[in-house]
Structures are given as structure tokens and as C-alpha cells.
Symmetry: C2
């Protein structure tokens, strides 16, 4: 039995106990959140807000609008979009009316939105929670309810310009989040398909071999080859030929070299992909991001709907709690990207057409930031740092050392609020000065406005700096 | 058949058709969002962001932290909290494991959070979507998925100070949203209960009579009385006595007058409520909000968990599309408040104790802003106004009138991004100047940075004001 199975059994038993009355009667609730989910406490929310602000600023700097879609969709909207991962979709109970499912990502609802509203051009971001009945690994930021931060560009444009902007955005965000060094791997589905073709993989095995190649960042080549040969039925030869290609990494030069490759250059798909890769790198050069971007033929990515460029960003620094255990290495993580990566995306030119009654296509390219892992890292950094995370923005606490001054405290607080100053007052008639000062120290309020009989008579407020303990009398008229 | 029944039938038939292949084969999706839900387009999101900013600023000004909880809870967490409205809860399908339901409000998850984490003091806000399988009336802002903006103060404090701050917050938010004149009705559950007792309502009928009284803002007194007498079995006399009380409105003076009332003053509950009401008004006076607050004995509110002060804010101005039709007048709206109201709340001192294994109570008071109705009003105002709502914040479009300058445009755009300037560039090799200027006009971008051979040679950029059409040459060095 695993730990989580035990937890689940315990929860079931306690639930049963509660139904039967339990030892406390009506109070015998199971006090927990649903499996794989968590509450965010104020400190976590402060970190979340900081991360979102950086990401949203970047999206806005690139001229994106934002949209929102419902948390559930008609079940059939999600059907046939996620391959075998469909089993991870949460369905709603049939309570009469439509059959509904919780969204699994933001990309399919986006495609549905475009088709439904006949939108052919948009640059939008969408930050919202998605749901997957996966095996949670919460210490590493893998949840059943988690945020996705998606940025996508839809429209028929000249090649690779929008694709390059998506990579620029990943670069900017990872830089600004200050998570240490990182790399962004790029590849192209057409290059992969062309490579499989020239290596002698039968057409119908492209997708399944693609999934196996996708494991190269967690498995040694020998094991990947074994899977290809023993499980997926490729010959040793074909495996070895794939092995040669997928060990290649480089930049624009590699694209140029492969365009000269005797076999690959014969394949139309591969040529189209390589030509675009060359163009992409020339734009990435202009965007000054080539120091972190690697053309990596082993990058495959899980989702079926990609049709062109694909990419994935990986942090170089490994943070202990974020390293996966071997038992967990088989799953894709919460952003649909491999364990270790913090962003991923690519071009999906066919998805919107799947929703359009006439099959009209809207080319799209986008990126999804794996925000839960970033939250986990930021939380650990905050824990390790001596700096305290403030959860409120209160500038001043209105306090008194003397009794019977509640009304005066409320009056002053009200005046501060009316001036737009963030102010608090304790909800006590006669709080002790010490407990008022303690409240400031605990929550990081920098100033106390102290009222006493003398201050009232003099028409002043004693402003005290909580840290330095300096005090200064300020005329009431100057405060409000 | 009602319109929504027809919609549902049509959707079912189309769904069936899609399953059977339909006339378009695999493309025969039903392109819609789930019943009672909607997408937010970029314009609606811009309005939503504006409204949220005002509300969050106010919550922060009052020193609140924020938390977040999962969109679903264990089913039993919600059980027994909503009375007969429980039928409106969305359940998730049993896919093995725990039984889950979508949250119905933010108050019950908040109480669960406090009990689970043994928190006895917190001032928090929570803005998130909640779910009710109600009859949607979407043109009036009534949805099955909708936002709640909750602010609550938990803790054992001296009477009425926190309660007064909640009313101050409603006052500030409605003022700042600029929705026209409004009133905030206040009452107290203990006053209502005391009033029912002295009027001769049997104890077991308090709650059901309370529900009937709650309809007074939509029904004439005669009809309310009829319901009490004919459906709920009160005598004419008892009904008339209630009628006398519930017609009363006033301020602190009314509380004082009722404390002298021969019958009410004999009732312990009523006296406690009236004494607190007097105190509340004295604090509201200090907070300078009594011009909008009315002590109204007809205010009852629907939810069972209130134990003390209750309140509800109503806009004075009626906006045509927001007026309810008689057929829809029976339901409570999306914020659990009556049709017409935009905020509501009260004191609930027993709810957290329902979750605590030892039944330990944490007194709470809070307010919920009925944000969907406010969105509807703001959207209608935006429609009616000539001012265009911008959906992006882009400051400058990098453009060119000449061919073959894509690389130069990308280079300049990159430089602007690196300086933190919000910039866009069209994803075309050789876009026409006209289409570049049109993009600015459509999306409200104020400036165009125009590049040409001459400008490149001179090391300048031609900055054009889109509205005034003024142009000025700026040295490249000054831009980036």
C-alpha cells in the first residue's frame, strides 16, 4: 500500500464514521481538501501575486489581451484532444442536462473560443486553473488542480516571427523570475517526422516512437533504444539511426548542416522544418536570446496537436525537493511538460479547425508557463531567506496607550482610509500598547499612529517608526 | 416549454447528432459553453480588471490578506450548510476515490480553512468563482459560474467594530465604482427572532417566516401576509403584528425607540440585537457612512448561518435590462442576495464551529460583493459611452513604410521590450503602412515608431502620434 492509498482509505473510513454519527456526533467531519489540491495561505498568495505580476507584465509588454473561459466545458469539447491522457479528465456528475468536464488545459478551450466566435487573429494570455486526475506529487509542485499561464498568437502570418516572440517571452519571464540559469530546447515536429521517415520508422509508429524519444531527458539512450526495439518493434538498425540524430544539439549551424544531410534533405517535411528552424534562429539572434536556446533533436513533447516548432525550458539548477524519484519519472508533469521543465509550447495549426464546422484552420503558436513548479521554488527560496514575506500592505496602525480612546482611534482610522492610506485599528475597546506594537511587528506594519489625551489636546498624532522606534509629532491637519 | 428548456433540448439533440456523425462528420461539434456560463472576451476582461482593482485596493486599504481554496471540496464539507439550496450544488462524477462537489460559495470553504488550520484570527479577502445549478438569467448577470468577492473578519473582538468596518467597505466600494446612489439596509437576526417571538410565531416557524419576510423587497406586504397566513399557517393577528414591525425603517433613533417598545424590550434576543444596533450606528457615524445606511426591520436574508447583524446594499438607479420579470422574482440571485442588490453579508458566529472537532467557535463577520451584476452594469455603461475600452496596454507599434525592413523592425522592437516599453510589431515581412496605422487605431495604440532607409541612415526613429498625426524624429540612442 502506498502512503496516498492509505490516506485515501483513512479518509473513506472517517467519512463512513461521520455518516454513522462518529464519536463527536455532527462534528466528525474529515477536515481536508480534496486529494491533490491545496489551499493557498496568505504567504503563498503573496508569492503567487508577485510571480503573476512579473508574468502578466511581460504578456502585456508584448501587446497581449486576456480572455477567460468557464472552468467546465461540454464533455464532447474535450473528447479526442488528449489521446490516452483523456482518462485523467474530471467529469461532472450527470445531474440532468448537459454532460460536462473540468478543463484539462487552456489550449483546447482557447481553440473552442476562436472557432465559436470566428476569430482569426488574436494575441491573448489566459491565467487560470486546470484539472487532471493524475498522481499528485505535491512537494514538487505537481497537483490535480493547478495554474496554467498561457500566451498564444493566432493568425495567418509570415513564418517564425510569432514563434520567435513566444521564445523571447519565455526568456524574459525566466530571467525576471530570477530562478538561476536555464536553457530552452527547440525542435520541430516536421523535423522529427522526417527523421523517423528517413530512419525507416513506419508511418503508423511515428507518434508512439515520438513518445519514447520524449523520455530521453529522464532515461539513458540505451533504455530508450530498448523500449523502441523490444516494446515498439523497431529493428536495431533503425534504433541506431535514430540514436545518431537525437544526440545532436546546436544552433542555426546545426540546421544548416542537417539541410546538407544526404538523407534528411531528401525528405520534404524535414526540409521545411529545417528551413524554418534556420529562420527562427535568425530572429532569435535579433531578439538576443540565442545564448539560452538550443536546437535539440531529442525534444519531442507529449501532446498530439503540435504541427511545427516545439520548445521546452529547463532550469539548470536542481533544487533538492524538486528532483523526481525514479518511481515518478514516467509521468508528464502539470504543465504537460517533462519533470524538470518550467515552460513549454509550440505550434498547433490544426486544433481550431477541429472545432470549425467547415474545418477552417487558424494557425496558432503558444507557450505555457509551468507556474506551480515556479511557485514551489519561490516558496522554498522565501523559506530559506531571512527576509519576511508581508501578506498585507498596511502602512499604519492607529493605536493608543490609554483607555477609552476607541472612538478617537476609529475617527483617525476613518480619516486615513478616506485619504487612501492603508490603515488598521485593533477591534478592541482598550487594547494594550504592547499588543498593538506586536501586531505591527508580526505583520510588518512600518508605522504606528499613537493617540493619547495629550496628543488630542495638542491636535497632533505621535507617529512611531516600528523598527527604529523613532517618534515624531505630526499635526492632525497634515494627516488627513 | 420555457426558452431555456428549448435551448437544452436543442443542445441535447445536436449532441446526439454529433455522436451519430452529423452532416459534417467529425466537425459536428456543438460550439457552445455550458449552460449558464460564458466566456469573457478581452473587452469584458478589461472591465473586469478595472472593477477588481477598485475592490482589491479597498480590501488592501483595510489591511486584508488573501487566501485561495480549491474549486472543489469533499462533498460532505458542503453537506448541511445550505438548506434546501443544496440541490443546486454541482457534484463531480464518482471516478473512484473521494466524492467531490464544486464550491457553492466562498464562506463555507473559508470556515473549513479556519477550522482545518486552527486559525482564530484573520482578516482576509477571497475573489474566486463559485457554482450553482440555478436557473440562469444571464442578461441580468445571473450565471451558473460566477465570481464572488468576499471580505471577512474572523476573531473574538469587542462588539460591532468589525461589523462597522464591513459596512464601511461596502460604502467605499460602491462609491468608487460610481454606480449611482445606493442604500445599505441593516438588521439583526436576533431582532428578527425576538420580533417573531413577541408577535406569537411558534419557534419552529422562525426560519420559514424569515424566508417569507425576505420577499418583501419584491412583493407587496399583502402578498407576503397571504403567504404567511395561507401557506405557513399563521393567524391573521400574528401576521398583522409582524406587518407593523417590518414596515419600520430608521437609524439609531429607531433602535432606541424599539428598546422602549413594551413587548420587544421583554425579549432578551431582541434587546441584545437592538443594543448592538445602537452601538453599530455610533461607529457608522464615526465612519461617516450613516447617510446611506438604514436600519430596516424587513431585511431577512436567505442563508441559515447568520447569527447577528445582516446587511444588503441596493442600487437606487434601475437599469432597464437589470429589472427582473415577475416570473423570475422568486429566486435569490448569484450572490445569495435578492434581485436588485449588489452586496450582502452579516455575522455568522457558529459556522466555523460546525467544522471544528471540538466545536470551538470562531466568530466571523463578512461581506460579499455581487460582482456579476456590477460587471453587467459596467458593460452596459461602456456600451453606452463613446469612449473606447482598450484591451491592450501597448504604447508603441514599430512600423515601416518601406519593404525589406523586417529585421530592423524586430531589432527596434526588441530594444523597446528590453527597456520595459510595451511594444508591438506586425508579424508580416512587408506590411502596408496603412494596415499598420489601422492596427493602432483599432486597438488604441497611441504611438507609431516608423523606420525607413532615411531614418536608419540618420540614426533616428520617426515617432508619430496616431491621433494628432504629429511626427517627430527621435535619435535611436534616446529610445533604447
Amino acid at each position: 500500500m502506498t502512503l496516498s492509498q492509505i490516506d485515501e482509505e483513512v479518509a473513506k473510513l472517517l467519512q463512513l464514521k461521520a455518516q454513522l454519527g462518529g464519536d463527536e456526533g455532527k462534528h466528525a467531519f474529515v477536515l481536508k481538501t480534496a486529494k491533490g489540491t491545496r489551499d493557498y495561505n496568505p504567504k503563498q498568495m503573496a508569492i503567487r501575486e508577485k510571480v503573476f505580476n512579473i508574468i502578466i507584465s511581460c504578456f502585456k509588454r508584448h501587446g497581449a489581451e486576456t480572455i477567460d473561459t468557464p472552468v467546465f466545458e461540454l464533455k464532447e469539447t474535450l473528447t479526442g484532444k488528449y489521446g490516452e491522457d483523456s482518462k485523467l479528465i474530471y467529469d461532472l456528475k450527470d445531474q440532468g442536462g448537459e454532460l460536462l468536464s473540468l478543463r484539462y488545459d487552456l489550449t483546447v478551450p482557447f481553440a473552442r473560443y476562436l472557432a465559436m466566435n470566428k476569430i482569426t487573429n488574436i494575441k491573448r494570455y489566459h491565467i487560470a486553473k486546470v484539472y487532471r486526475r493524475d498522481n499528485p506529487a505535491m512537494t514538487r509542485g505537481r497537483y490535480r488542480e493547478f495554474y496554467q499561464c498561457d500566451f498564444d498568437i493566432a493568425g495567418q502570418y509570415d513564418a517564425m516571427i510569432a514563434d520567435a516572440e513566444c521564445l523571447k517571452i519565455v526568456y524574459e519571464i525566466l530571467n525576471e523570475l530570477d530562478l538561476g540559469d536555464f536553457r530552452i530546447k527547440v525542435n520541430d515536429r516536421r523535423i522529427l517526422d522526417g527523421m523517423f521517415a528517413v530512419c525507416g520508422v513506419p508511418d503508423e509508429k511515428f507518434r508512439t516512437i515520438c513518445s519514447t524519444v520524449d523520455k530521453l531527458d529522464k532515461m539513458a539512450w540505451e533504455d530508450v533504444k530498448k523500449e523502441m526495439v523490444n516494446e515498439k518493434g523497431l529493428s536495431e538498425d533503425v534504433g541506431d539511426r535514430i540514436g545518431e540524430y537525437v544526440s545532436m544539439q546546436g544552433g542555426q549551424d546545426l540546421a544548416e548542416r542537417l539541410l546538407q544531410d544526404r538523407k534528411l534533405s531528401q525528405n520534404k517535411q524535414a526540409c521545411a522544418g529545417l528551413t524554418d528552424m534556420k529562420l527562427l534562429f535568425s530572429y532569435l539572434e535579433l531578439f538576443q536570446v540565442t545564448d539560452k536556446v538550443v536546437f535539440d533533436l531529442s525534444l519531442a513533447r507529449g501532446l498530439d496537436y503540435y504541427t511545427g516548432v516545439i520548445y521546452e525550458a529547463i532550469l539548470s539548477q536542481t533544487i533538492p525537493a524538486l528532483v523526481s524519484t525514479p518511481a515518478e519519472q514516467n509521468g508528464a508533469d502539470e504543465a504537460g511538460v517533462n519533470v524538470g521543465s518550467v515552460a513549454g509550447g509550440g505550434r498547433y495549426d490544426g486544433l481550431v479547425g477541429m472545432f470549425d464546422p467547415k474545418g477552417r484552420k487558424v494557425p496558432c503558436v503558444g507557450v505555457s508557463i509551468g507556474i506551480e513548479r515556479i511557485f514551489s521554488i519561490m516558496e522554498q527560496k522565501a523559506e530559506a531567506s531571512s527576509e519576511k514575506v508581508r501578506t498585507t500592505e498596511t502602512q499604519v496602525l492607529v493605536a493608543s496607550a490609554q483607555k477609552n480612546l476607541l472612538e478617537e482611534r476609529l475617527k483617525l482610522t476613518n480619516a486615513l482610509w478616506n485619504e487612501g492610506i492603508k490603515a488598521e485599528v485593533l477591534y478592541k475597546k482598550n487594547p494594550k500598547l504592547l499588543s498593538q506594537l506586536q501586531h505591527c511587528e508580526e505583520t510588518g506594519i512600518p508605522l504606528v499612529a499613537i493617540l493619547g489625551e495629550q496628543e488630542l489636546k495638542d491636535g497632533v498624532v505621535k507617529l512611531r517608526n516600528v523598527v527604529s522606534r523613532e517618534e515624531v509629532d505630526v499635526p492632525r491637519a497634515d494627516l488627513s
